[in-house]
């Protein structure tokens, strides 16, 4: 048995053991599922997912946790459209149902939150209403109604959430359930009532899954693996599969964390629960499972019967199809930058490695690896012909960071002859350096994959080769310029003898080099509150240096709130003994000292520091048309940091766009028509 072998569930068979789990997408049309949802799920179904679980729908009007959260009352037509689009591909389609309880939001509903007890949610600090008996009955009925709607819409089943952000978990947990009634004496009572009502509404055939938090990471009152094992044993007879997750109101980010937690961090917990239920129900493991090898090992070791690989399939919608073809899927880097979208701004779910994710209805696909038949408009066979068609003018890509690599890769897949010049000894650019910081190492996998895929399709990658303006002028074909950026000059006074280091220099050095470069005491100046400053700090942490982290904000790394790493980063830095100066502005670096000014008292403090590492913003690299879109009459286009230094995802998106713009018209059409599945 492995990842690709089928799994029998009730009267259904999943074609493989890979589940695409429920997650926020903000793709909705209001609170209804949209055509963008349909395209998003269809791409994953076409890509081979065994079970596609749709975004959780709220089962009762008291639950409106984020603006675009689907409402089960409005979900019927959307569920039907998703089922119609996905089931012909062979995937099972299951609708997630839930109620967020006290972890919801009153901002949209303009009414009180419901919860078993009056424990305030940790971040909003909003005190919920203690549910009355009629409220409980209403929620149970809501689950039943939603299940009936799902079944009528033609879904293969439903999945009930007792994991993160769920009222049912709040009832199960001593952290949040301090009731004196029957629902407090028997904390699993609500879960049983809901599952029973849902089964009754579904009828005998559809699947009923349960997502259960099996470790709230709060052993003083929360669900522990031992307590959860009892709950799982009790509920197992009522369900057809059980997804093991973790997390509580205190640890929302721990359910789907960044790469600071290892891939597959939850597999052991899944194994504990699987042993406890002893075959009564198939167990699905969740938790940063992004590598097929690890998943196969876990299946072989009996830790689980199936795996949820959600982010891996956001990064590569054709994950399973590629595994079947023994191809290497585009890796998820566990960065959470574009896929964790429970954010007030309603960002669309996407992926820095595949910016088309979530934008299936608007963004062209990169060239399909297998275009079934030549497009009549193309005029020539479209099957890619590596190493490039000599009849076409060759493409030169300057710069081998993410933007350049993606441009070369996509152009090579289009069948263009491609040469990439990278001035440094290795490709990867800033992403390769970022990968050296703790928790970011998977960025290196992405760089490798981009380079390998480009090479496999015939692109020639040349390192140690810088380009000059004369090169650009002489090049016979189109040029995509991706030379990247450089640090902006310091925004503070630098006196003679002061040592100001760049994050690049610190990250690029090996241990020996770093010992020489970075003195015993150092100030990290982070005016941006982003991952770079935190990454540099963690790189230097636990090395015996005295580190002072200076930020203009009240919190270190404010931009990390989107990835969920904000609390984690602040804990890690403090545990490493790094001193933090909050609400300060760096004014002056001198030999051995750094002067900071408090933003609100204007008081100036001199800190002892052999060097300051300036983690400020970057600007486009000089020369070669820096900061422009195009030069040489449009034959040379710029992408990525060379236009404006931003993130890896921006670089990849622009690199891809520039390459697709070079596609022969017919091929571009074919790529568009290829739609969701085959990129």
């Amino acid at each position: 048995m492995n990842l690709l072998s089928p799994l029998a569930l009730r009267h259904h068979t999943a074609r493989c053991r890979v589940l695409f789990g429920p997650h926020e997408t903000n793709l909705g049309d209001g609170r209804a599922f949209s055509s963008r949802h349909v395209a998003y799920y269809r791409a994953r179904a076409e890509g081979g997912a065994g079970i596609v679980v749709t975004e959780e729908a709220s089962v009762h009007p008291t639950d409106w946790p984020y603006e675009r959260c689907p409402d089960a009352e409005e979900a019927g037509p959307g569920w039907a459209a998703i089922a119609a689009a996905c089931r012909p591909t062979g995937a099972l389609v299951v609708g997630a149902l839930g109620h967020s309880g006290g972890q919801g939001s009153s901002a949209y509903s303009q009414r009180e939150l419901w919860s078993p007890s009056d424990e305030p949610e940790v971040n909003s600090r909003e005190v919920p209403k203690v549910m009355e008996g009629a409220d409980i009955d209403a929620v149970v009925a809501g689950f039943g109604r939603a299940a009936a709607t799902a079944a009528a819409a033609g879904l293969d089943g439903v999945e009930v959430n007792a994991g993160q952000h769920s009222l049912i978990r709040q009832f199960l947990s001593g952290l949040t359930n301090r009731r004196g009634d029957a629902y407090g004496a028997d904390r699993a009572r609500l879960a049983r009532e809901v599952l029973t009502a849902v089964r009754a509404a579904l009828g005998p055939d559809p699947l009923l899954g349960l997502r259960l938090s099996c470790d709230e990471l709060a052993p003083w009152a929360g669900l522990t693996p031992e307590l959860a094992a009892d709950v799982a044993r009790e509920l197992a007879p009522l369900v057809d599969y059980l997804v093991v997750v973790r997390g509580s109101i205190f640890t929302v980010a721990e359910t789907r964390p960044t790469g600071h937690h290892g891939a597959g961090f939850n597999l052991e917990l899944a194994g504990v629960i699987r042993q406890a239920v002893d075959g009564a129900v198939p167990v699905v493991a969740q938790g940063s499972i992004v590598d097929a090898d690890q998943a196969d090992e876990a299946l072989a070791a009996g830790r689980c019967d199936a795996v949820e690989m959600t982010r891996a399939q956001i990064a590569d919608s054709a994950l399973v199809a590629k595994l079947r073809r023994r191809e290497s899927p585009r890796p998820c880097v566990l960065c959470n930058q574009w896929c964790r979208v429970r954010d007030n701004r309603n960002p669309i779910v996407s992926c820095i490695a595949d910016p088309r994710a979530g934008h299936e209805t608007t963004d062209p696909a990169e060239a399909a690896e297998k275009v079934p038949t030549p497009h009549p408009a193309a005029g020539r066979p479209l099957t890619p012909s590596p190493p490039g068609d000599p009849q076409r003018p060759p493409l030169l890509v300057v710069g081998g960071g993410p933007a350049g690599l993606e441009a070369a890769r996509v152009a090579a897949r289009l069948g263009l002859p491609v040469t990439l010049w990278e001035a440094a000894a290795d490709v990867g650019g800033m992403a390769r350096l970022a990968a050296r910081a703790p928790g970011h190492h998977r960025f290196a996998r992405l760089v490798e994959w981009l380079a390998e895929d480009a090479t496999a399709h015939g692109a020639e990658l040349v390192t140690g080769r810088a380009a000059t303006d004369a090169d650009l002028a002489a090049w016979p074909g189109p040029v995509i310029l991706a030379p990247g950026g450089r640090p902006a000059p310091p925004g503070f006074e630098v006196e003679a003898g002061a040592v100001v280091l760049t994050p690049e220099a610190v990250l690029a050095a090996d241990d020996a080099g770093r010992a020489e470069l970075v003195p015993e005491s150092v100030v990290i100046w982070d005016p941006l509150g982003g991952p770079i400053g935190v990454g540099v700090a963690e790189t230097l942490a636990w090395t015996g240096r005295r580190i002072t982290y200076c930020t203009p904000d009240p919190i270190v790394g404010t931009l990390l709130s989107l990835t969920g790493d904000l609390p984690g980063a602040n804990v890690r830095l403090q545990q490493a003994g790094i001193a933090i100066e909050r609400r300060v502005v760096l004014r002056r670096a001198a030999a051995g000292t750094v002067t900071v000014e408090h933003r609100f008292s204007a008081e100036r403090t001199e800190l002892e520091a052999g060097a300051v590492i300036d983690c400020g913003h970057r600007i486009p690299a000089d020369g070669l048309g820096a900061g422009q879109y195009e030069v040489h009459g449009g034959r040379v286009v710029l992408v990525g940091d060379a236009v404006a230094p931003r993130t890896v995802g921006d670089a990849i998106r622009e690199g891809r766009q520039a390459a697709l713009a070079l596609a022969p018209a017919g091929l571009a059409l074919a790529a568009m028509a290829a739609g969701g599945g085959s990129s």
Partner: protein, 727 residues
Amino acid sequence: MSAGGRYRYLFSPLQVGSRTLANRIVFSAHLTNYATQGGLPSAQHAAYYEARAAGGAGLIITEEHSVHPTDWPYEKMIHAFRPDVVEGYRRITAAVHRHGVPILAQINHNGGQASSMYTRRPLWAPSPVPDPLFREVPKAVDQHEIDEIVRSYATVAARCVEGGFDGVELQCSHSSIVRGFLSPATNHRTDGYGGSLANRARVLHEIVAAVRHALGPAPVLGVRLCGDELIEGGTTIDEAVALARAIEERGGVDYINTSIGVATASLHMIEASMHVPPGYATFIPSAIRAAVRLPVVGVGRFKDPLQAERALAEGHADLIGVVRGQIADPDFAVKARAGRAEDIRLCLSCNQECVGRMGLNRWLGCIENPDTGREAAPVGPPRSRAALTLATGAQNTAADATAAAPNGRNANGHGAPAVPHLVVAGGGPAGLQAAVSGAQRGWRVTLLERQSQLGGQVRLAATVPNRAELGDLVRNLAGEARRLGVDIHLDTDASAERVEMLAPDAVVVATGAVPQRPWWAPPPDGGGERICDVVDVLTGAASPTGSVVVIDDIGFHHATSVAELLADRGCQVEIVTKSMVVGQDLGITLDMEGWWFRASAKGIVQTIDRVAMGYDAGTLTLLHHPTGADDSRSPDWVVLAVPPRPADELYLALAERAAAVGSGNPEWLLRRIGDCLAPRRAHAAVVEGQRAVDEIARALTASPPRTLALGTVSAPATSEIAAGAAR
């Protein structure tokens, strides 16, 4: 008296370009987040602006409209670069023009003060300088892109006129690529668009010329300038005055609007909260008006008509922007003109539901006006618009229409009463709003308040330094209740027996919340006599002295307010929170920066990441949760800013009685609202006060037979009563 009543200037007309304004009250540009459908103006936009036109504003200037696809900084922005906005424009302008009020569109490009999240393309700005809020490095625009921006302003200006607008205002302050060019802080260019003021203003002059050309001579063209950006190296008043002169000299512009602050770096001074004195930005229009002949608009916490009148009389401005004042009360101008200024629901400048929701991508609302943001939603009669007619005695309601056996019941004896009697228990914001809403429907309303004053916790919260304006919430609601004839009984305990004796048709329980001690805090008679709640400090029941630790578990004004109060009294104050920031929601209402300045000045220590774990013999034990390190304090006093518990005893008693009445249907409808349902903020109380009455009205008209289809109103079983008691 003249048409302007007691106001010599406020209600005098003014010529602005080709248009004549009936008065000097401007509903100036502000975000609403009402563009919920792909960047197009919505029906809600039209209804929202129309309500202010109907309420008598002299001029309406809409929220900004984006002129170019590179500008989409927040989700629900109007995309003027789309030609199909015109239909929505016509809906807005027709609605406003129905009331004879001119309306301008503010048009803008936010430049680098934005995010590329929605556009998925680089930001455009004069220089690659990241904005301190968005922190994204923009692309420095080249000549080609500058020309494209200038053209896009002209195109959009013409489109606005096509859509029926009387003209446009160019946003050149707050958050704007024009501001980016004007300000030395963000313009580092070395070409003809950087360096001298003349160079930095080049883009503005080019846009004015192009827009005027596109508009033709008649439509109004205004320019909004910043008088002080309040940032290092930013624009200040002298340069603003010089720029205003240059604009006037070049011609084409009909008026100058003013502003203070930058929408990202110093937003807290643009939409200043009640902590900043009213009229704090008046020096800006004053200085500019002294230098130009064009009409000048002044803004900045103009709250009431007398204050506006005075600024006009003193010559600081020709027009006064009243934004939040008209968000809170659309009838601000009508009421002032009618000599009923005291009827105006005065804005509190609390920033909780207007400004506070904008930053969170939610629709604009108001803490004290539950209809704001819902103008387009169908409402049952008579609700807020009827308040004016009610005050004059003309009143009829849907309930009346169901008429009417002499005993107040329908002929069948158990249907809706002719004039329902609503009993409200509790005179805080929730109870007051319920009473007002009931009285607006023509019901007989009795309100019972245990204390000798109305207002509940809001009355107390308004007693701390610089928070007095919060008390206007009570003043406004209580005044409205009295005007509507609500029978108010102070010093009256609302027992279940008393409520029943009043023979109500409906009972709304709004008894609020009471302080409770967290698990680690011993009771006063168990060693915790030096521990008290914020409420105890404000009522005077406790008077901490010496060193004080305030525990902030709520994260709003509670801890910071009491800390300031005690620091002012000479205490050494430290606030301890388990969160990453003290008073973290102060950021939402733009109170954070001011708090930090004051905390620094008053020596208030802010300690984060620490959980209180125990208190014994004067020593408070703390846990630094990120590291697990132990910590402790031995202050003279500990003050608790922690969530209270619902005062739900009356509700539970009434519910029990209701359950005991025969079939389970009581003779009266029962509803609980506000903090006695779940302790939250004043907005929830006000919303629920109105909603409870709406729902009761629906239930009354739906009967006979009267059934309790009101969600949680139905009588709870004994188990929940036990649950409530166990809490």
